[in-house]
Symmetry: C2
Subunit: 202 residues, 2 copies
Amino acid sequence: MSRCAMARRTTTSYALLGLLALRSWTTYELAKQAQRSLNWFWPRAERKLYDEPKHLVEAGLATAHAESTGKRPRTVYAITRAGRRELAAWLDEPAAPRAGEFEAMVKVFFADAGDLDQLRATLERIEAEAGDRVRALADMAARPPLFAERVHLSALTLRLQLDQERTVLAWAGWARQQVDQWRSTTDPGEWDAQAVLDAIAE
Amino acid sequence: MSRCAMARRTTTSYALLGLLALRSWTTYELAKQAQRSLNWFWPRAERKLYDEPKHLVEAGLATAHAESTGKRPRTVYAITRAGRRELAAWLDEPAAPRAGEFEAMVKVFFADAGDLDQLRATLERIEAEAGDRVRALADMAARPPLFAERVHLSALTLRLQLDQERTVLAWAGWARQQVDQWRSTTDPGEWDAQAVLDAIAE
DNA sequence: ACACACATACTGCAAAGGGCAGTATCTGAG
DNA sequence: CTCAGATACTGCCCTTTGCAGTATGTGTGT
């Protein structure tokens, strides 16, 4: 009943609340599940995934229940009716803009501080990583789903994730071909950068 | 000469060092430039962009020079020889994996906690944002470049950025079409989720 | 029967990063 | 002469990360 000092909620709060809306989990399970599914578009350190459920309980959006496996204690979290209400209300709020961290692209952008071999190595690593992820996504799609009644939503999100990885993969291959035509990282020789920019500018 | 307590360097340190490798900037210019260019793949709050150059100076990778415009002071940063060396060495280290925050996708993933109108609104916002960004990138590509001698590197990075935004744009359009065939967020009716998953699994 | 790897189930701490408010000066257009 | 907008930052508090540390299950092989 009392709402006292309901601390602010972050996207991380709602992401975990979303998982709790599907079923109850122990903190450990919740953390693992978040890393399997949410990690693709809402990556969070395991540390946070242990802290956040406590805030949800504090705010009355979830309940915590202490259990144990022999001598080892564990906490099972479940969503409350208020939690479901808040989750539904949150869906109405406009989301934060997409933001991506891509350190390797910083290295590409400043490639002229180094040599062609370094640039090529960076591009190869980008390509390898994207390839791994395409495979990981294919695996996930092939495996029987954890929540059969939610496959339509999984299909939607997996599709974007795959498209993104494939885009990176294709770009990296193209970039390696372009870079192979350069004389050095500071001199692209005959290579026509303007043509690429013109294509981007439509 | 002394290396005393050279604090750790982060990717943000190297990103700014990269900009300093191009020319000297005041902190304000550096912050703005970082937001114009780096923001696409290494977004950082303005606040950090003011702190970081101080660490670079501390580590001997840059120098700070106090100037003034009338009564208003300003600090001009320049890279040192040690800075260029460190930057080149950093290019060799494998980069952190790509990581993206996409809050709107969390809302799509948990769309079954709300109704179809909420899901459609989320998809429309995703589409609008991606459209804005495609236009912003086209603008950047059309505008005369700040560093003419580096257009080849800009072309490479802009290309990926555009591909990424277009991927999101195309996906959002597709997703809206799919969702229009659903009966509710919990019941996709005749819609064939398995077909989508099979396509992903190859 | 015992070892040992691996999964479960967390906590503490320091440092990086984000968001917002606040302060002040300079520049150009009307 | 005014006023918006650009320049040039700092302080504060909270979130998030990363890593190390501390246990207790469970299953597999020998």
